[in-house]
Symmetry: C2
Subunit: 225 residues, 2 copies
């Protein structure tokens, strides 16, 4: 919101091209892909990249913001479903579909946590999701031993299939079906072990800076095996 004067048409066009190509490039090669290549792909000079985005971090932040805006667009349909169970179905399906179609998102989220850990737009979704879960559980359709965080984690798990590229796109709904069947309230379900997490922890988790090292010990296979 600096000056309300419209930028020139060519500037606006280049800005859009850069965002579009950045999503493709970051999805393919990670958020550290050379920005000179971004320039080439977008058909502009390197200088133009830096005119639009002060540096890589600024570009990542803008991609992050458009992602959050996407989520806001999805919310009404999901939360407004006729039954609580239908909301759950839509939540998993729409969000997983979006994640799979936006494979740059996980890397951008993780990098944002490094750039500015205090930046948490979208925190307002927490209450809505918790309400959705409570509704479906009161209705008797969703098993009562899962939490809103568990659902969000399942969404991320399904979304991780986006890493597998376009070849997998026709198949992820198979896993979605299995997960949804596992979420139904049923007398003979195995109880979910342990306690759920708070929603705050989910933000930190889904934006994890990277795997914490402690878990990785030496492989039992010394070397030349």
């Amino acid at each position: 919101m600096t000056s309300n004067a419209s930028p020139r048409r060519d500037a606006r066009r280049n800005h859009e091209r850069l965002l579009v190509e950045a999503r493709l490039l970051f999805a393919e090669r990670g958020v550290d892909a050379p920005l000179d290549e971004l320039a080439t792909r977008a058909g502009v000079g390197p200088g133009t990249v830096y005119r639009h985005f002060a540096n890589r971090d600024a570009l990542i932040r803008e991609l992050y913001d458009t992602g959050v805006a996407d989520l806001h667009d999805l919310a009404p349909e999901i939360l407004g479903a006729e039954t609580g169970w239908r909301s759950i179905e839509l939540y998993l399906e729409r969000l997983a579909e979006w994640l799979i179609g936006s494979p740059y998102v996980p890397a951008v989220m993780r990098r944002m946590a490094v750039i500015d850990p205090s930046y948490k737009p979208g925190a307002e979704f927490a209450d809505a999701i918790a309400g959705m879960v409570a509704r479906a559980q009161a209705e008797g359709s969703l098993r009562t031993d899962v939490t809103a965080v568990d659902l969000s984690v399942l969404v991320d798990m399904l979304g991780s299939l986006g890493q597998y590229g376009g070849a997998y796109l026709p198949f992820w709904r198979r896993q979605l079906t299995i997960v949804l069947d596992g979420l139904r309230a049923r007398p003979d379900n195995t109880p979910v072990p342990g306690d759920g997490q708070a929603f705050d922890e989910f933000h930190d988790m889904s934006h994890a800076k990277g795997p914490r090292p402690a878990a990785t010990q030496a492989s039992p296979h010394p070397s030349g095996e």
Copy 2:
């Protein structure tokens, strides 16, 4: 198996240290992390890194091989379970646990596909897994509309939680429970949509070079939103 002469003790020790630190480093910062930092972390000079691994690709290949060896160690317990269903449980649990504890694996697999797409050790697992699935389905415990590939994909999904770092480690079994409940044969399951994939396709998928671009279009949110 080049020369059977043992390397010097310090050489062997450094080789192990480098592998251990490489797993940590690649998990934290990706497979493109600077090798000079690997040297620092392992407490050796940069020259030593290149004495042990001709280049980054050689290091990645060796990490890949130790991972495949880990899998060979896991196979007997999983395949030798008393019931078909128990095999399925162990397959999901043990492999997911391993993946989560080895967060360098996905990146290393993807990079290996780039380095040498023809290198596919572990292809011999396909028949064993297919047999395990057939056994559990014949037994009536595993739903019949899932394939061996579906299970492998579920393992990768669970394993993707390793990306979330140590903070999540106590929780992934919650999602495992849900998935297992979704895999049980039940009269009122939702049929899994579409056809399953061949196992060959799974190798290419799990080693996907990176998300194929086609799926990522522009966000509907032009820019300054």
